[in-house]
Symmetry: C3
Subunit: 342 residues, 3 copies
């Protein structure tokens, strides 16, 4: 199956520059593409490849200015990255979704499985749980008792969902994700030991939430740990008990959020960031990778960096001087000496 530049441009409402009859049948990165591939250019870092790529068709942004002629046919669109997403989704939709129940699996007699569901072999569906229409549960998934999973949601292999948790529609949970493990709560005792605080709350994932591989989301002590609509978490992230994450907030890999902290909506959080517990972070906050957020952020739409973090741009400047510290100390010593000698 192949498509011409003409067909693709029509689909994306894009403008063709070059031969409209060129055809492609697959996708490739711009630096690896061959004549039968469609490539894209969104990140300016990859601009040099535009002039050397063998790709047959390249999706580019409307505002791209060519510095010299190129061989490929261009399709100009408002947003090349979104247009690529549209094409890839179309490409993927040719695959029929999995349906049916593979054996052996364990489905409790009181569980409810709606129509069009896939349940892979060795999956476990606990008492009273409910799996919504067209949801796909890959092999080795564990759904504890009284769990609700919505429609068109995908749990990849080995996802573990503890009892009483709720997962919405159109969510994707990658392999090894743990939802609803106990929050980390212990009361110190006078003999130095710790008494466990039982965690009787749950986790609620709203709709269109995506969770990366081996990420862990703890259940609330009481009440719920909540991820709102459109939250996207990368791999190996830690979300502690009673955390709340606002709509469309995106968090990169290996970040950790301590207990009861509330992140606003539309935040962009880098990788390996740490948030202390019991703070509030305003909507639209941006946090640079490896930062440590030690107190609440109340002004929306600001950027932060460093550990402990402060304003991103100031942090960049402080880091530049940090490199010069041995030299600064030397200069200070010299000026001290000069003052002393005067």
């Amino acid at each position: 199956m192949q498509f011409s530049a003409q067909q693709i441009a029509q689909l994306l409402q894009g403008t063709i520059e070059g031969d409209a009859n060129v055809c492609v049948h697959s996708f490739a990165k711009i630096e690896e593409a061959r004549p039968n591939d469609l490539a894209f250019l969104a990140n300016p870092k990859y601009l040099p490849h535009l002039y050397t790529t063998q790709a047959g068709i390249i999706l580019v942004n409307n505002d791209l200015v060519l510095e010299k002629p190129i061989a490929a046919t261009l399709i100009r669109v408002e947003d090349a990255y979104s247009a690529l997403a549209t094409l890839l989704n179309l490409y993927n939709s040719r695959q029929k979704p999995l349906v049916g129940i593979e054996q052996p699996c364990y489905i409790h007699e009181t569980a409810t499985i709606e129509e069009g569901v896939y349940i892979g072999a060795f999956s476990y569906i606990g008492a009273g749980s409910k799996i919504g229409k067209q949801t796909q549960i890959f092999p080795h998934s564990y759904i504890g008792a009284n769990v609700t999973i919505g429609q068109n949601t995908t749990l990849y292999s080995g996802v573990k969902v503890y009892h009483n948790c709720q997962i919405g529609n159109h969510c994707i949970l990658h392999a090894g994700v743990v939802i609803g493990s106990d929050g980390f709560g212990f009361a110190p005792q006078t003999d130095g030991s710790f008494q466990k605080i039982p965690q009787i709350g749950n986790v609620i994932l709203k709709n269109f939430v995506e969770i990366g591989a081996n990420t862990c989301i703890d259940r609330a002590t009481m009440g719920s740990t909540i991820l709102h609509d459109g939250v996207k978490l990368d791999n190996l992230i830690q979300v502690a008990h009673n955390v709340e994450i606002g709509e469309n907030t995106v968090i990169a890999a290996q970040t950790g959020i301590a207990g009861s902290t509330k992140l606003g909506k539309n935040c962009l959080i880098g990788g390996q960031v740490g948030f202390v517990g019991h703070i509030v972070v305003a909507d639209g906050t941006k946090i640079n990778a490896q930062s440590g957020i030690a107190k609440s952020i109340t002004t929306p739409n600001e950027a932060y960096g460093g550990s402990p973090a402060f304003a991103y741009k100031e942090n960049v400047r402080a880091n530049i001087v940090f490199k010069q510290l041995p030299d600064i100390e030397k200069r200070l010593r010299e000026v001290e000496q000069q003052v002393k000698n005067n």
Copy 2:
């Protein structure tokens, strides 16, 4: 089932302030509680909610001073957080523990399963392994050959325990925990490749150890990686080969401990901390989140922060000046100029 303030106060040996006949039937966070809920106040950050909560009963510390009258009935106790733990444990104990063996599962003919054990479907118990009384092993757990697990221990879904490891009594291992994977040891070869050092030791978890979801504890090269009584690890922690962690040490999420390092007892370690290998950390050490511990700590009961870490309070002060570095460099330049001009 509901309880009156009178009954709860009696149980906790607390003092009632307000209506002793008020009844509750559930628990809730102070900021979300309704009239039928019991709430608690331990962290002073939540003090403002005391005066607005709808909770029927609130557990508070004896030393709390009210600034204005409140609607709820107070129960004053020595330690509200411990009292909450006691109540929640009571609440949880109403649930009967799971018992019995779900099918299909794989239990080697030479394995020993004591009485009162639960083994979930799709669990695997290897040759020569032994599961103690009242221990619960949730679905998809893997117990390799010659593993010993004590009594009243819980392994949630998908825990993996490699061969020869030992787990004590009253331990809790959350979903996705890996116990006994190979330590990371390779001998560099002259051609640039690495020869694997086989890891022939094991992991020993003593009693009352709790391990968070997806945490990994590597087996020793030789001898044992050991977690002593009462150690509590959060999620996504890395414990390398031949590490030893002393009694009642508590470690927050995503911390990593490199090979052969020995942590003392009663330490409190924040999240995302890193310890280099082959060091010793004294009893009662406190480490701030995201710190890097690059050398041994010999004085007990001190607090550290930063990467590389030094005394916590000094680190706080250095971080304050760090923010001013661009300004400091400017001031230095000015004073240099002035001295030059004099």
Copy 3:
């Protein structure tokens, strides 16, 4: 079964110092060894134990200079650590590899299983996948559709390999490893939500690759995420989509590598390091633990530290001055005052 110093020295082409007839039957760490154990000394930190150990035999480097007489028999070799690896491999090779298919398991009728393979109970082999000779797949492993796994490779319990991925020969994947989960790619939409970029590439692990427990390697958006021959990854590492890691590069636990970054060969990367996306790191680069690599490294064989990272030795010096910052600020204030007063 036991061996004499004579036999061991012969095997390792080493030189005996002491009684050649001493026999050992096991291995132990130098600080824990008993008379029947062989110990080794490679890390100079453990030198003091040389004079107190009860070990019967100790492997040491040729260049070790004794400061006083010792009780044990020494075997001197070029590289004690490599010699230990050789002995341990020999010791381990006495165990017969697992062979055969345990029931129940799920093997798609179109999958190819070569001879000498072990497939543990509850493992899942998808359509069109191929498992090479002598490969061992432990219980609860998930192999999606059209996966190729080479010969003499080991997948420990609960490894998850998504569709279309390729794993070479002599690889070891520890429990909970995830290979081929979706890369983290989303196109921002004007309403603040994110459109998923389908990830249609795969992951390729070449030969002699070892991956630690619960480490995640995402599939490429297009093309492949590639780990070349001899790459060793520790536990809980994040490898994002389209990353490439060169031959014999070794990475310690909890490090994260963002999308499309290319690490050279023979690099040594510490734990908890972060790499931003779309950069290139030169061959032989060494990165200190907890560093943040924010831009490409073009000169090979250099060492870096800090976040953001710069030359390792300069970073060490800057960190020393960082501790003195409050004092430096005070000195600056004093000199300012003096200049003002002059």
